[in-house]
Amino acid sequence: MILLPEIILTVGALVLLTIDFALPRLQRLTVYIAAIFSGLALCAVGLGSGTAFGSFFSASALTNGFSVLILLGSVIAIVMAMADHEVEKHWGSYFALMLFATVGCLLLIKARDFLYAFLAVELISISSFILTGFERKIASSMEGALKYFLVGAFSAAIALYGISLYYAALGTTSFSFPADIGASANGTLYFAALLLIFVSFGFKASIVPFHFWVPDAYESAPTPITAYLSVVPKLATLGAMINVFNLAIPAGDARLSLALAILACLTMTVGNLSAIAQSNLKRLLAYSSIAQAGYMMIGLLSVSQLGMTSILVYGFSYLLMNFGAFACAQWVATKHGSYDISSCDGLSMRHFPHALAFTLFLLSLAGIPPLVGFIGKYLVFSSAIEGKWAWVAVVAVLNSVISVYYYMRIAYRMYFVETKSVVVSAPVLNVFGGYVLSGVIAVLLIGTLFLGIYPNPLLTLVRF
């Protein structure tokens, strides 16, 4: 039964909603319930393989790998939310929405039909719109959510249009194609359809030039949700793109690959260059996550085993280091009341372990060995070189040099700026929340270091 994880999560989400409506006294337990159901779903991954609902959904080693990433991501985000003071009420619906979004992600990577993929994307989108605007009393939160919603609705329309063209060209909406489609009379229609569908994927995976909603939405959402959005739906969308590339596109089609290569380069470059100017930690990490999506897209270019596994490995390293960086940012902000980069000033002198952890996560994001981010970057660059995309690899490495500049700007604040006291506007973190966040940081840091020095378990797991 390949949809067991989805079913478990849906049941969990319904339980949480019931608690929200009927048993408000159990609010405090919701986080544990959400975590338990996610954990159960994680255990259920890979219990079956094959297809479900005819051939609309299908599970393979690749989708299982992505399912694990998605569920791990949602578990981490749920634990991070324990330290989130801002969502005191409606915990039940908060976690229920998170679980629904996760269900959408899981369905998206298993979908073998564009209509079902569309439904999955909508499930993710609608849940995330609400989560982004969860702090409804804060105007900027509403602004971010609204922008996200408008752009998301727009991209959904484009996707539907693309799917209708696809149907017109092939007479079906499933991921399959006649071998000679490129040369046939419907070839142009077919490629136009795929391009439109990619545009809508691009919105979800925050690929340039469809990324404009990202900084505002990421800044205004509660931090655990920001971390969640920057990792989980993005990886799910990339997983879906791998499926489409494998199943619905004639192998190595030059036009689409070139378009993808250019988009990947644009995504990295614009993301990194925009990040340089940011002074808000969440916005900076938002732009950094755009750039990271660009690196991962390189794996799509060469439709090879190496390319696919490189995305999976990069995805896993990204999960560890990006959640780590966001957890550190959340920790800093709740200690000092602000996400402004200046709240990092002199952190190494006050909280050396946290400053060191933050630095290591940032260095890992920049791809400096021996951290796990380097393994991911190495494999992605390898796939580019192997697939004769050397110029893309050159753009990518130049980008990782640029990225060091702004990642190190945070380290610079933490180590080089020597202020004894930082203006603490509202030390809002309760003791328990502090321990939780530190625990999350510690676990992610151990993963980042261990898998960076000894990546064998990870590489064996993805059957590289």
């Binding site: 190494s348 002198m349 050396f352 260095l363 400096i368 060995p369 021996p370 380097f374 190495y378 660059f381 390898s382 070189i385 192997e386 050397a390 690899a393 050159v394 490495v397 130049l398 990782s400 040099v401 060091v404 500049y405 190190m408 610079y412 180590y415 080089f416 000894y454 990546p455 064998n456 590489l459 064996t460 590289f464």
Partner: protein
């Protein structure tokens, strides 16, 4: 007994111990740091004595499968090219740490980063697997960034960032070249020795491939050396870094570039090398003369020494361009000597800066009567640096010229001008700082302390010993260099 791993990872052990200690216990931290780097030095000396000079190939090899899925090995080994540099690294780090006892700001972090830096540097010279090599190579970046950025001079943040970005820019191209080599070799391997042995197979991939990979490595190494026009990060980083870090920067980090050219570019791509030395010899000439002229124009002693490094590394590359055993011997010996001499010079400049808080050459005068010991040692180091016969710098520069002359007559003759300029600015510095009437402002200047002497004197002894009996170093290198010359010249 895996001696190489032992001497490489002892400092890491020390760094982790220091990380676990409370930061108030500065004395204990310093003791632990000195102990592990001293032990590392001791082990490297043991390796030095156990090394068989009559063999050209790798010795003390260690090989474990590290990342099986990618065929990455933990492969260490040393030969006549890397052994002198390994010993230089352990020695200079130990002495630089002695000189760092005076640092009393954020002591724990300083010693932690310094020891991590030592691990990276040693690993670069020992690793024979490209993946491992790259990991060690990058491992030197982060500690250096913090060492310059926290404990440096007025423009430390800018200098640290520029250093980091500049070197990273070079090394990412090296990474691409490494990946290309991996996929170019059959079966895919990161093993440097196998890649060198199987270079004919790489030749089949076409000259474009050869050139691109060569240039990728060259960018990484040339920035490190630093060769014109990639030298602009050096003066800034050297001047802003604290004394001990400048010693390591000039003494060891620059050598990583020269080492890389000799280990990777020359033997693996002899066909490209034979063409590439035409521009390279001109670059070496520019480094020599331009570096010397700019050094002459400096008023700041530390800047002067920094630019003299650009000049001295030019000799190294000039020697390499000969593609002969004599030239290679000279180049490696010059790297070692430059590490010793410039290390001493940076330490000495640091000594006077600690007291006077200025390094302006014009601000002093007549110090010889006030601090005779300091003046004597400084003069000795300057003489060694300008190539006075009898001191170590002379032999290696002479060998570089000797090797290069038969091949590059015009460029070698023109490069000799660099020696004259070097002599000019060192003599001018000695004259302005130590001779003439005493500048009364410095009437209370004290001479060198025991700790400062401990750091500098071993280097001075080496200058004299290697100057009088250079075979001490040359015998170790000679076999390997001869083989290297055959490898480069005899390439099909």
């Amino acid at each position: 007994m895996p001696l190489l791993s032992l001497l490489t990872f002892l400092p890491l052990l020390g760094a982790l111990i220091i990380l676990a200690m409370p930061k108030e216990k500065t004395k204990t931290i310093q003791t632990v740091g000195l102990l592990v780097s001293g032990l590392s030095l001791l082990v490297s000396v043991v390796v030095l004595f156990g090394y068989d000079k009559n063999l050209a190939g790798m010795q003390y090899m260690e090989d474990f499968l590290w990342i099986g899925n990618l065929n990455v090995h933990y492969l260490l080994g040393i030969d006549g090219l890397s052994l002198p540099l390994v010993v230089l690294t352990t020695l200079l780090t130990f002495l630089a740490l002695i000189a760092s006892m005076g640092i009393n700001h954020r002591v724990k972090e300083y010693w932690f980063w310094f020891l991590v830096l030592e691990v990276g540097m040693l690993g670069v010279f020992e690793a024979l697997d490209f993946f491992l090599f790259y990991v060690f190579w990058e491992l030197t970046l982060v500690p250096m960034y913090f060492l310059i950025g926290v404990w440096g001079g007025p423009k430390k943040e800018y200098a640290a960032t520029k250093f980091f970005l500049y070197t990273l820019f070079g090394s990412v191209f090296m990474l691409l070249a490494i990946i290309a080599l991996y996929f170019g070799s059959e079966p895919h391997t990161f093993n440097m020795l196998e890649l060198t042995a199987g270079r004919d197979q790489l030749l089949k991939l076409g000259m474009t491939f050869q050139w691109l990979v060569f240039i990728g490595f060259y960018l990484g190494f040339a920035i490190k050396i630093p060769l014109f026009p990639f030298h602009t990060w050096l003066p800034l980083a050297h001047v802003e870094a604290p004394t001990a870090v400048s010693v390591i920067l000039a003494g060891v980090l620059l050598k990583m570039g020269g080492y890389g050219l000799l280990r990777v570019n020359f033997p693996m791509f002899p066909e490209v090398t034979k063409i590439f030395i035409y521009p390279l010899v001109i670059i070496a000439f520019i480094n020599i003369v331009y570096g010397a002229l700019v050094a002459m124009a400096q008023k700041d002693m530390k800047r002067m020494v920094a630019y003299s490094s650009v000049n001295h590394m030019g000799y190294v590359v000039l020697g390499m361009c000969s593609l002969s055993a004599a030239g290679f011997n000279g180049a490696v010996l010059q790297m070692v000597n430059h590490g010793i001499i410039t290390g001493a010079l940076f330490l000495l400049v640091g000594v006077v800066y600690d007291r006077a808080h200025t390094r302006d050459i014009d601000a002093f005068g007549g110090l010889a009567s006030k601090v005779p010991l300091y003046a004597g040692i400084m003069t000795l180091a300057s003489m060694a640096s300008l190539g006075l016969p009898g001191l170590s710098g002379f032999i290696s520069e002479f060998l570089c010229f000797l090797g290069a002359f038969p091949v590059w007559k015009v460029w070698t003759i023109m490069s000799v001008a660099g020696v004259l300029v070097t002599a000019a600015f060192f003599l001018r510095m000695i004259q302005k700082v130590f001779l003439g009437p005493l500048n009364e402002k410095w009437a209370n200047l004290t001479d060198m302390t025991t700790r400062e002497l401990c750091a500098v004197v071993p280097l001075c002894v080496l200058m004299v010993v290697l100057g009088l009996y250079p075979r001490l170093g040359l015998d170790i290198m000679n076999q390997t260099m001869t083989m290297l010359a055959v490898l480069v010249k005899g390439g099909t």
